[in-house]
């Protein structure tokens, strides 16, 4: 019986690189997928591309490819990733250059584009799902609008013999579903099987979160060797059932408990998990132990895919300023409270307009008690004043204040709209190393 082995080499853009190398070298993989594109990560990348048309892809792209390509390309592992972020074409060109420099020539690399629907969304009357406001009320604050593509354009890349597939916004599980559809020739209206492949993708997409990361709770849920946490791989069979496991000897654990937590992670109605490919049904999934660090996944279902595509929308939403200062010893709490009162009065006296302000005391005396003040403002100048007013407590505030920190940043907020499928036109282009 044919089995496809898919690993996950990253669960977010800043993730560890060594576990991906371990998977590429020792996972006997067919595919290695890197999921690196959170909602806001892409909006930040769009802002970077607006400054420099050659950038806008994942900042760790070169480091990751340099580390894993020698293993992937010499062992026949196809690499799939959304590290293209706001600029998959530039990322593919970089990948071609890096592969060539590593001595691999004639490697086909696909860039999947078409997720950028800024022009279709900007100024329109679509309703933002979280806020309920219309998109056109964002005006010039709109920074990014990217549709979640499904597995289909990735299939075109794989059928075109791409060994590296680089995308922008694609639904996370679709990055994993695409190679399964490609290998098993699943029909794109075989909803239960697409649902099963989507469950596999969902379990893998956060990498270490299914192998014992985001899980340990000393004394209640102990996990061995988290500093050497292994990333997951799935052995998938033609009917879509799978075993989740990891490279032997790596840290962490794959148990029914770790898989159950990840199965329900970011899930709302378990019977209707919406992706561009399918309405997947997780509600009757069964997880069973299948030996050490092996969990079998069966029972997923599926119904027809949603009529619309979700579009992630990024927009400028004011600024956040923050300051911290710490006190110690008996009376530290009272000094931190006095510090907070002084900052609040200073901000009012000096006309800093805070749309929202909060103060937290962290720690208990006689140990460190830190005051943290954070506020939302309309201007960067006002945001900077919050941290400054905390910092000036060094010489103007309660006794013994130390370790002041301050920061101010623009808020890039995220929301989403739904868009008709005919407004989204994916495209695939190829380059060779």
């Amino acid at each position: 019986m044919k089995t496809v082995r898919i690993g996950c080499g990253a669960g977010y853009s800043g993730d560890r690189i060594e576990p991906a190398v371990e998977l590429a070298d020792r996972g006997a993989l067919d595919y290695l997928v890197f999921e690196c594109l959170a909602e806001r990560t892409l909006a930040l990348a769009q802002r970077e591309r607006a400054r420099d048309g050659q950038r806008g892809y994942d900042p760790l792209l070169a480091a990751r490819l340099t580390a894993v390509l020698p293993h992937c390309l010499s062992q026949g592992v196809t690499l799939i990733t959304n590290m293209g972020a706001a600029n998959p074409v530039a990322a593919a060109a970089l990948a071609a250059r890096l592969a060539g420099e590593l001595g691999f020539h004639g490697v086909r690399i696909a860039a999947v584009t078409g997720d950028d629907v800024f022009d279709a969304v900007a100024g329109g009357d679509a309703t933002l799902i979280d806020s309920g406001a219309r998109v056109d009320t964002l005006g010039t604050g709109l920074v990014a609008a990217n549709a979640y593509l499904g597995a289909e354009p990735l299939l075109e890349a794989l059928r075109g013999f791409a060994r590296i597939v680089i995308t922008g916004r694609v639904a996370d599980p679709s990055l994993f579903l695409a190679p399964l559809v490609h290998e098993f020739n699943w029909r794109l209206d075989d909803w239960p099987t697409l649902g099963a492949g989507t469950v596999v993708g969902h379990l893998l997409e956060c990498a270490g979160q299914v192998t014992g990361g985001y899980f340990a709770d000393p004394g209640r849920k102990d996990v061995a060797d988290l500093a050497r946490l292994g990333f997951p791989l799935a052995e998938v069979t033609e009917d879509g059932s799978a075993v989740i496991t990891k490279v032997e000897g790596s840290g962490g654990a794959v148990t029914v408990a770790t898989c159950t937590e990840q199965l329900l992670y970011e899930i709302h109605d378990p019977s209707a998990y919406l992706t561009p490919d399918v309405t997947a049904d997780f509600s009757r999934v069964r997880l069973t132990a299948d030996g050490p660090d092996r969990v079998a996944v069966t029972g997923a279902g599926g119904r027809p895919r949603p009529a619309t595509l979700k579009v992630s929308v990024g927009f400028r939403d004011g600024f956040i300023g923050e300051g911290q200062i710490g006190y110690r010893g008996s009376g530290a709490t009272a000094r931190a409270r006095l510090a907070l009162a002084i900052v609040q009065e200073r901000l009012a006296l000096s006309g800093v307009r805070c749309l929202e302000l909060r103060g937290d005391l962290i720690g208990t005396e006689p140990g460190d008690v830190r005051l943290r003040v954070a506020g939302r403002t309309a201007t960067l100048l006002d945001a900077e004043r919050i941290g400054n007013e905390v910092e000036t407590l060094y010489t103007n505030g309660p006794a013994g204040g130390g370790g002041a920190l301050k920061a101010a940043r623009e808020v890039l907020a995220m929301d989403a709209v739904l868009l008709s499928r005919d407004r989204v036109v994916p495209a695939v282009s190829f380059v060779e190393s």
């Binding site: 806001r40 159950t260 937590e261 899930i267 709302h268 069964r286 907020a413």
Partner: protein
């Protein structure tokens, strides 16, 4: 009183303003008790001001699990929250401190 964390583990996830928290029995035989006692009302009271509005509960007996879905207060989401844990990832630990009647 029995603390929920002695019977169950769980994980919080965020999507926009929505948060979900799973509650998973360590021992499948405790699922019936979780289903009976970890009610929507108790969850709302335990999470207090961290959430707003309705709480939905999904039952997954074959996994020994419940899944709670709720919204954060208006204006509070991972990208614009002023909270130290902007994601709300620690909400699962807060929920697992729930005390259940004997």
């Amino acid at each position: 009183m029995t603390r929920l964390s002695t019977l169950a583990h769980g994980r919080a996830g965020d999507k926009g303003r929505l948060v979900n928290i799973s509650v998973i029995a360590y021992d499948a035989r405790d699922y019936a008790r979780l289903a009976r006692e970890v009610t929507i009302e108790r969850v709302r009271a335990q999470l207090g001001a961290a959430i707003a509005g309705d709480v939905r509960r999904y039952e997954l007996p074959h996994l020994g699990a419940l899944n709670f879905v709720m919204a954060r207060p208006a204006g509070d989401s991972v990208t614009r929250s002023l909270a130290l844990d902007a994601h709300g990832k620690s909400l699962s630990s807060l929920l697992l401190d729930l005390e259940l009647p004997e």
